[in-house]
Amino acid sequence: MVMLALICLGDNAYGVPISEELEKRTGRDVAIGSVYAALERLEDKGFVTSELGEATPERGGRAKRYFRVSARGLKEVRETQRALVKLWHGLPELEGGKA
């Protein structure tokens, strides 16, 4: 879900917009600490890269950290999508929006 939010946000993906995007999509309150924990795990696996951005006074002078999905990450997202679609087609009860 975090990877999809990153793809959706493009170049403006730092902590605040990522958590806002996730809140908007899921309709639930999102903890920034958990978002960063997920991003750090993805970064360790090489699916995401990050770089320091600008510092603003409203952030108390602290720099933003922008995240971007790497080529490897994009490949992983596509593979996961394919796997999910295959799984989905294997469940006739869920097809056609019937639960």
Partner: protein, 233 residues
């Protein structure tokens, strides 16, 4: 009117004990959201979640070393309790100590009557202070030893160690109260009982603070703050 500054204690907690390598970015994001209208309650909830998530992740990544480090810290504390604190605290309970009862009797013959309040108030407080002082030294040593096991995961390991000591004391008090009732309700000695109870808890609190101090967690952490002036000279 709501202050523009987020809760200072929450910010300090996250700055000192935040284990994430992206701690500065988290602090910045929280401050930005707070200034865009989020509540103080939201800020506190986010801070505590970030602290817990970072702590668990940091410990999990070095779980074997964390376990050995925390066990070593506990061995130091148990040895200290068995060899120094236990006998000394037993000595404080002068009602059951024949040495102190004797001293009390002898002093009552020599000193004026009103000096006996020394035994009633100051002497137990003095002994507790000595125990707390020794505890501080031992706590700082154990904190320092625990921190040296894995310097890269120093913050989560030392924080978890201090939290385990905190939990132990809380469970000990709760069990004692369930078993024997409130420890300070001795008929006719309620105020002194409460005083003794509080002094002992303060002694424990100083040990916990000294663990954090020994582990280097109370030193001011350098933040990667880049001011706007620095960016645009």
């Amino acid at each position: 009117m709501r202050s523009n500054q987020p809760p200072a204690v929450a910010t300090w907690l996250l700055r000192q004990f935040g284990c994430s390598p992206r701690n500065d970015a988290i602090l910045g994001d929280l401050m930005e959201q707070y200034r865009h209208g989020r509540s103080r309650r939201w800020y506190w909830r986010q801070t505590l979640t970030a602290l817990i998530v970072g702590l668990l992740r940091g410990v999990w990544e070095e779980k074997a070393r964390a376990l050995v480090a925390i066990a070593t810290g506990w061995i130091i504390l148990v040895l200290y309790n068995l060899m120094f604190a236990g006998p000394l605290l037993h000595f404080i309970e002068f009602e059951s100590s024949p040495n102190l009862a004797l001293a009390q009797y002898l002093f009552s013959r020599v000193l004026p009557r009103n000096w006996m309040s020394f035994y009633y108030w100051f002497q137990p407080a003095l002994f507790s202070f000595v125990v707390a002082l020794l505890g501080c030294v031992v706590g700082a040593i154990s904190g320092s030893v625990v921190a040296k096991f894995q310097p890269s995961a120093r913050i989560p390991i030392v924080t978890l160690y201090a939290a385990s000591v905190c939990c132990y004391q809380f469970c000990r008090i709760s069990l004692a109260i369930m078993k024997w009732g409130l420890p300070f309700v001795y008929p006719g000695h309620e105020v002194r009982g409460l005083f003794m109870f509080l002094v002992r808890q303060i002694a424990w609190a100083t040990i916990i603070v000294s663990i954090l101090f020994g582990g280097g967690l109370l030193r001011s952490r350098v933040e990667a703050v880049r001011t706007v002036e620095e960016q645009n000279p």
